[in-house]
Symmetry: D2
Subunit: 395 residues, 4 copies
Amino acid sequence: MSEQLRVGMVGYAFMGAAHSTAWRTVNHAFDLPLSARMTAVSGRSPEGVAAAAAKLGWDEHTTDWRSLIERDDIDLIDICTPGDTHAEIALAALAAGKHVLCEKPLANTVAEAREMADAAAQAATSGVWAMCGFNYRRVPAVALMRQMVAGGRIGTIRHVRAQYLQDWIVDPSFPLVWRLRKELAGSGALGDIGAHIIDMTQFVTGQSIASVSALTETFIKQRPLTAESAGLSAAAADGSGLGDVTVDDAALFLARLDGGAVATYEATRFATGRKNALRVEVNGSLGSLAFDFERQNELEFYDAALPSAEQGFSRILVTEADHPYIAAWWPPGHGIGYEHTFTHEVRDLIEAIAAGQQPTPSFADALQVQLVLDAVSRSAESAQWTTVESALQRA
Amino acid sequence: MSEQLRVGMVGYAFMGAAHSTAWRTVNHAFDLPLSARMTAVSGRSPEGVAAAAAKLGWDEHTTDWRSLIERDDIDLIDICTPGDTHAEIALAALAAGKHVLCEKPLANTVAEAREMADAAAQAATSGVWAMCGFNYRRVPAVALMRQMVAGGRIGTIRHVRAQYLQDWIVDPSFPLVWRLRKELAGSGALGDIGAHIIDMTQFVTGQSIASVSALTETFIKQRPLTAESAGLSAAAADGSGLGDVTVDDAALFLARLDGGAVATYEATRFATGRKNALRVEVNGSLGSLAFDFERQNELEFYDAALPSAEQGFSRILVTEADHPYIAAWWPPGHGIGYEHTFTHEVRDLIEAIAAGQQPTPSFADALQVQLVLDAVSRSAESAQWTTVESALQRA
Amino acid sequence: MSEQLRVGMVGYAFMGAAHSTAWRTVNHAFDLPLSARMTAVSGRSPEGVAAAAAKLGWDEHTTDWRSLIERDDIDLIDICTPGDTHAEIALAALAAGKHVLCEKPLANTVAEAREMADAAAQAATSGVWAMCGFNYRRVPAVALMRQMVAGGRIGTIRHVRAQYLQDWIVDPSFPLVWRLRKELAGSGALGDIGAHIIDMTQFVTGQSIASVSALTETFIKQRPLTAESAGLSAAAADGSGLGDVTVDDAALFLARLDGGAVATYEATRFATGRKNALRVEVNGSLGSLAFDFERQNELEFYDAALPSAEQGFSRILVTEADHPYIAAWWPPGHGIGYEHTFTHEVRDLIEAIAAGQQPTPSFADALQVQLVLDAVSRSAESAQWTTVESALQRA
Amino acid sequence: MSEQLRVGMVGYAFMGAAHSTAWRTVNHAFDLPLSARMTAVSGRSPEGVAAAAAKLGWDEHTTDWRSLIERDDIDLIDICTPGDTHAEIALAALAAGKHVLCEKPLANTVAEAREMADAAAQAATSGVWAMCGFNYRRVPAVALMRQMVAGGRIGTIRHVRAQYLQDWIVDPSFPLVWRLRKELAGSGALGDIGAHIIDMTQFVTGQSIASVSALTETFIKQRPLTAESAGLSAAAADGSGLGDVTVDDAALFLARLDGGAVATYEATRFATGRKNALRVEVNGSLGSLAFDFERQNELEFYDAALPSAEQGFSRILVTEADHPYIAAWWPPGHGIGYEHTFTHEVRDLIEAIAAGQQPTPSFADALQVQLVLDAVSRSAESAQWTTVESALQRA
């Protein structure tokens, strides 16, 4: 029987549910050197966390996340809370020698992210590992895309075209939830979904974003307060029942990548009809690749080396046993879903921990994404082309 | 300057307009040994044919189609009338030494079709040529499909899946037009659109349909009489203002092809939302090809010889200069439309006439389609598997 | 805490893995009156079943399926074995008062299926329930399709167009596995995948198949024997290392449904490039619906009641909270996969058991599918249109 | 019989061929108050223009474009030459009282475009009309898109996403043709294809681009000289056989529109596999519309007012008689092609001239596009957000 990797999870909402599915599933799908144990979950509401533990399958629950870190029978802290709390929890966990899986974006500020990356680098020297949860890297079609780019199938990359389009707040009567408040969420569409396409395109191309020119927009400036948001001092109602939206609804930017490609990026919550359209297209000198998460089991590939009369974008159904991760699942054409990206994520994390190797994306990788987010924000404010700060630079 | 091919066209409705476009256009698009001259058009209504001649670009017009055949300054008779008149006109034209282009289906009965094919065979011995207008063979994507099958790109053919789906009479208040009367149209969806998929699949695969099991259905048995149809004695109104639909709304059949493939065919005017969905898919031992006329500039190709992880149906945009017919038109990606199929048809016809070669599809090819239509009708009536009669068999 | 539903599963291969995922997941996704407990699994190989129990999450394992039925602490028998064993197991389980979930097809013969349906009807009188595993009914898009048809959104149904296309045995060197032997599998593509489109179309339309005209084909008559199949006396090797394929590679049929629709059906393992293309299109007097499992999170809908200029097939992303089953999963656009169909299946089964109601599809429903399969087989042999026997008829 | 509109065309290459098709076809497709007569074509090469006149259907030909303007029997000058010659020809034609149709972009510089717009405004006072050839406005799907936006079907516009992707110079061995030299072409992808998406998005949204942030890139800096380009002094060969590419291969920009929308634009000749992918998506508060010229007969529409469970992007086949321009052509589903956009263009031009009304896009509209192109170029050079100069501003 394999050894256990005992997990304590902080937070149990959307990401908590997704991660729980992954921890519950991973050893049933993959043969791994460690067996995940869902030891305990923490959350602020006693009733909420108790119900979540029962529903999601955690052995124990607590309202005190610090108690998870203090326990000897927990090996890894899985952070699924809003971004403003990531740094404190991750730093404490790493200091206590716990491995850490932290949801993206790594933090709400570069300063926090840098501190976390430093701590992770330090911990790594004693075999304690930290990973950031850019789960979309583990969509099989995206992993295949990376393999094909790395294998030279599309040659020198010229263009990157990245969009993450959603529409869940198009209606002006949608309320002022925490994701629309800067002090909690850090930013709006930019950090929430823009971070994913930044990470994914850098992962797929092997290039880093070097400079950006950005604009951000908040189409709906005020929204109805909720019971939750009404209590936020910063959302200070003026009696109208409305509070200020303090994050971007949409963020658009141009970029130059350090390998010579040029790129457009767009993250928005106002693309009516687009539900989770995370789209990346890469054009190279020898071919192109295109992906849309709304059709997550497919990858489009254009091979310019084929006979001219037979060239065309092919729809690869990424469900073959020789495609990344797929051998663990079902026969060709049967298709997997969103939660599998998290199962693949913890699978790779378990493999790395067992092998004593750095899991990816590391906190350093995630800091780099944070530096791009920061450059985008600064560019949008200054209306200037802005260079992405190096992860190695210091204030 | 090239010599002329002087054309007399009979009929000026839908097909007449399409053929006129082709004759007007063909020498502007292609360099050809003969120059088409639109000498005269005939039609039953004096006003109608005069207006059509002016609109469609014919030099002269007449109400007497026989006069076209009698003229020395006409080389080719183009027959665009309903199917019940094809035989009489074609036989007269061939007897007079005129080349003939006849719209499909060749005739309304096998007997007529056989007589026409015999006459065409006889005429061919003196260099007078006859061709049947299965225009969809000349969609570039379909021509490419044929090239690829003939070139062995998909290996041994196992399956044919053919559909021609329309929806223009779904509404029960749609009137009783001539196409819904057996004495004029011969059959309904079967001969009108089913004939196209029979011809196309035999063309693409190089195999002939050997036997069929069919059903036909008329969903709406009576429809409102029009001014035109009210006059038809056969539609004999009973005072209800309704007349009987005497053709099939839909025809479905299974088939075995003589090369070993098995097939499904479906022709219907009741596929709500499908406007002109002429679809053919062919699965072979080494790959597959799929076409849908609603996206006529595309061909889907699956190449089972590619590396497993890269296989997928590719969308070939059939607009490259090395694709059939395309060099005459626009740059890649610019797309052509329905009428181009007729321009390609008369282009190939002119080339064949100038070369003294049999144009295809010949009347013999069209007779073979008629024999399949006949087998389908007989199968639907008898509810028996029915062998397609050989074109060489005699009553 | 909810009461338990204690499950004993027979068989642990492909379907066993899928069902295990469902039992493991269902209470984490849905709030249900009963909590599934994975009590024990049985299988013929001691090592195999032990490994499967560990991997799939069963508490205990055995090589004797009868022992599962004899245990008092098991409430439900889940049958995931090849079709030739279904009847014996299901009859024993029902006789012992165990609920039964049986994979499709219900049996290999009508006689067995009828006996099972009779036993299930008898058991139901004492609150013991049987269900057959036509899991594709529980794809959210298919469930939505049924809702829309039942709600009259497409009016009177005219056409059904059903295909289940796979390609896993196109290569002649693919070996003679059990699914290619009639004595084990009952039939080939017909029962394996054709059964799904028979069930699905009857489910979606609410109509039953009344009569059929069919053909079946075995393209590759002999295949390499495997260690497993070499041992089968019936596959009697002749020294060539090859054994006979005794089932159909493909089955095609036309059908008339009892509500007036006409239909084409095609099930094949030779559609090169089509991996799991379970496709159903239904055309009605007011609109159409189309589904392809290769894009399982989508449903196409054509609404003929919209303004003419705005009509078109819409791609409904079936991932909204008000779509069937989806509220249990992820936000819009995030997508689910193949195994979710099984989770939905056992969810509905648990609900039905707890409510003391007949789960669907019942064994009677599955018998009706078996009668269609039988009519198809008989039609293919006799080359005659064949009436589907009524489930109520007796020999 | 209708009066004639006698046309003299300058230039006979790609655009000349497209315009010739339009003039030849327009009166056959549409009932119009004026009948186009193809009086004469001019070109620099005596042999070339003679051959073109014969092939394209012009009555006469000349090597002197000025002679066309001097003739009394020519009513309209159609300018199909490279951009550096537009101003001189158009100004001369307008001064001589000839109507003008000028290909896009209107000119190579703002100064020229402004002079042309001034001249056109002056000419309009005497009933002499000028139009610029942004033909893609006349794709039926694009015209429908404009109708739907103007009719409020998608509400307030939030996002515009525009791409014009080609790949014809991806290969570094592709030679240095005139379109790659700034002195002839003015710019590269920007003016050639970027101009189209600028015009189309402004047309569709009814909003103007107010400010931009741009980057341009030339991936391949030198290319093989051709016989033609070797003679250009400015391409001054250094003995390498290579000359400098002096225009952009790709131009990307962000924009703010004056109605509050934010936008991304991308024009490139390096999107491998994209042949003529002119794509525009517009997201509004009530719905979205999306178009891709590679599927020019389709328009995607998302209507957020439909019942939630039935919402989805619908694929409108823009081939119905009540769609723009279509009644002149074929039945639903039959599809038209690239050249039809030009036929629609001259149809609208003839209608406007006959009615004594300003045809659109006017030279003033085209000047506005030129001002955007200029702002994009200046932004790319300065790396600054740049305001689009008003058409009314003076230096």
